[in-house]
């Protein structure tokens, strides 16, 4: 590693920390100086204290939300990618499914959530379905876009060596679409967490969203905020899982 890039690495670590510390400092100062009621806005210290005090509860309530998000996301990938393959390779399927896809996407998921709850109950299934519904769209659209954006030169190369359609797909089209699929997955995984929380808000008896609502109704500001912080950590964690998957699946993307 050249000295210059080492400086860049240090900068890449130091500056974000400076930014976060500054925001937290200002926040704490504001809350302390103006003696803000913790029900309205607790300071970072109070939130941290609540996090420690309710650590077991928070951890316990993280698992259901995590599971709902991951299952919903996984389902979105499992159904979304093959559907995108069909849509990208067939004009007829594209014409048939694309309007439906757009229509389902334009329905506000928060509005459908109560209906989903009626269908699937207050258990994990309904949250999983809502998480799936919000994560599905970016996966399909980005994958289909990626499959259509194969560099023409590579397609012509495949043709010049008489590659079969399936060889062309697996050896050229699909790997070429990988960056698009990954970027769709990055959006989808954070949306999946939102979907799970929407489900928990509408009706549930566990999960961080449920805990947040409960803490709010008990006017326990610090706990509600702690649940919020844990939710965002959950989202960031899942996002980084996709980043790890990206490094494994497309090692050529990083130089």
């Amino acid at each position: 590693m050249k000295p210059r890039s080492r400086i860049h690495t240090i900068e890449a670590i130091v500056y974000p920390i400076v930014g976060i510390v500054a925001v937290l400092g200002l926040w704490q100062a504001y809350v302390t100086v103006f003696a803000v009621n913790p029900i309205v806005l607790p300071g970072p210290i109070a939130i941290a204290k609540a996090s420690v005090k309710h650590f077991d509860t928070l951890l316990e309530q993280t698992w259901p939300t995590l599971a709902e998000s991951i299952y919903g996301f996984a389902l979105a990938v499992l159904i979304g990618v093959p559907l995108a393959v069909c849509v990208a390779n067939s004009r007829i399927l594209n014409l048939t499914f694309y309007p439906i896809l757009i229509a389902t996407q334009s329905i506000p998921k928060v509005a459908v959530a109560p209906i989903i709850l009626v269908w699937f109950g207050v258990g994990m299934e309904s949250k999983l379905v809502i998480a799936f519904l919000v994560a599905f769209f970016p996966i399909v659209v980005d994958t289909a876009t990626g499959l259509r954006a194969t560099p023409p030169g590579l397609l012509e190369l495949a043709r010049s060596v008489s590659a079969s359609p399936s060889q062309t797909f697996w050896k050229v089209q699909f790997p070429a679409a990988m960056p698009f699929i990954i970027s769709g997955a990055k959006v989808a995984v954070t949306l999946a967490v939102i979907g799970a929380v929407i489900g928990e808000f509408v009706g549930s008896n566990e999960g961080l969203g449920n805990l947040l609502l409960a803490a709010n109704s008990q006017l326990d500001g610090p706990l509600a905020w702690a649940a919020l912080v844990w939710l965002s950590i959950l989202g960031i964690g899942l996002f980084f899982l996709v980043v790890v998957a990206e490094r494994v699946l497309m090692p050529w993307g990083h130089h």
């Binding site: 030169g153 060596v161 008489s162 590659a163 050896k171 130089h255």
Partner: protein, 272 residues
């Protein structure tokens, strides 16, 4: 231009009944229907023979149809009518014993250099130890030893095109089709590539069709130059390049060399 010209006039290629020739092109014609409904003639009437083991350049101005002609020979495009025969077989689609070098290297970023070179062998289901050995030999020949595991993005443009050349040769094609392969490279790299190609030809013996718009490139590399006119493409001149081998850079300043350049320039209508 169906009949062989009886005189030794320069403008006509010798199209005899040489059925033994490696490639035979007769009255190749290609036209498209434009949006206005009028046909656009891209290739008017191309006839010439391709002798085995030779390098024939298709020289012409940009957009004249020489690349279209090459793609017809490659089986990547279709002629409206005309005969395109390679070793006695009408070409209707790409053949496994053809190798194609594109203007862009077209390397896959997700494969390392060696796996890019082995791509045709993978498609032909012949990726074995011998194929790998040959790929490594070719990489050594073009000076890319030690870069087998490099990613294409780590290579310069010239190095990428060398790797692309290895990929076109890895399955030992009988016909090598090159579409302005050095057009995207800078002048000095291009001259290096010329000498490399001459060297490769000694080793591989593949009959080669080479599309270019560079007169000096055509003269330096070819046994025969087929000069194309502006669209619609017709043969403006058929120039036999009788320069001796081995060809070295000093040849570029030889009177015979510049004489041939002059003749090609006249054919393209850029000088008198």
């Amino acid at each position: 231009m169906v009949a062989a010209p009886t005189s030794s006039q320069s403008a006509g290629p010798p199209v005899g009944g040489s059925s033994r020739s490696f490639g035979r092109f007769r009255n190749v014609h290609q036209e498209f229907l434009q949006e206005s409904g009028k046909p656009l003639v891209a290739i008017e009437d191309i006839s010439f023979d391709l002798a085995e083991g030779t390098l024939v350049s298709l020289l012409g101005p940009s957009g004249c149809g020489k690349t279209s002609f090459l793609k017809i020979v490659a089986g990547l495009a279709e002629a409206t009518y005309g005969i395109v025969e390679i070793r006695g077989q009408q070409v209707t689609r790409p053949q496994p014993d053809f190798g194609f070098v594109f203007q862009q290297a077209n390397l896959m970023p997700w494969r390392n250099v060696l796996d890019n070179v082995l791509f045709p062998m993978e498609i032909l289901r012949r990726k074995d130890a011998a194929a790998k050995r040959r790929a490594l030999e070719l990489l050594a020949l073009v000076g890319l030893s030690g870069f087998e595991n490099a990613r294409p993005s780590q290579l310069s443009g010239g190095m990428q095109q060398r790797a692309a050349l290895c990929r076109a040769l890895v399955h030992e094609p009988k016909l090598l089709l090159m579409d302005e392969p050095f057009g995207a490279l800078d002048e000095l790299t291009r001259m290096e590539m010329h000498d490399l190609l001459l060297q490769i030809r000694k080793v591989t013996n593949a009959t080669t069709l080479f599309v270019t718009h560079s007169i000096s490139e055509a003269v330096y590399l070819s046994d025969v130059i087929v000069a194309f006119s502006k669209r619609p493409a017709r043969i403006a001149d058929y120039i036999e390049v009788d320069l001796p081998y081995p060809r070295t850079p000093a040849l570029r300043y030889d009177a015979a060399f510049t004489g041939l350049e002059h003749r090609a320039g006249i054919a393209l209508g850029i000088t008198r």
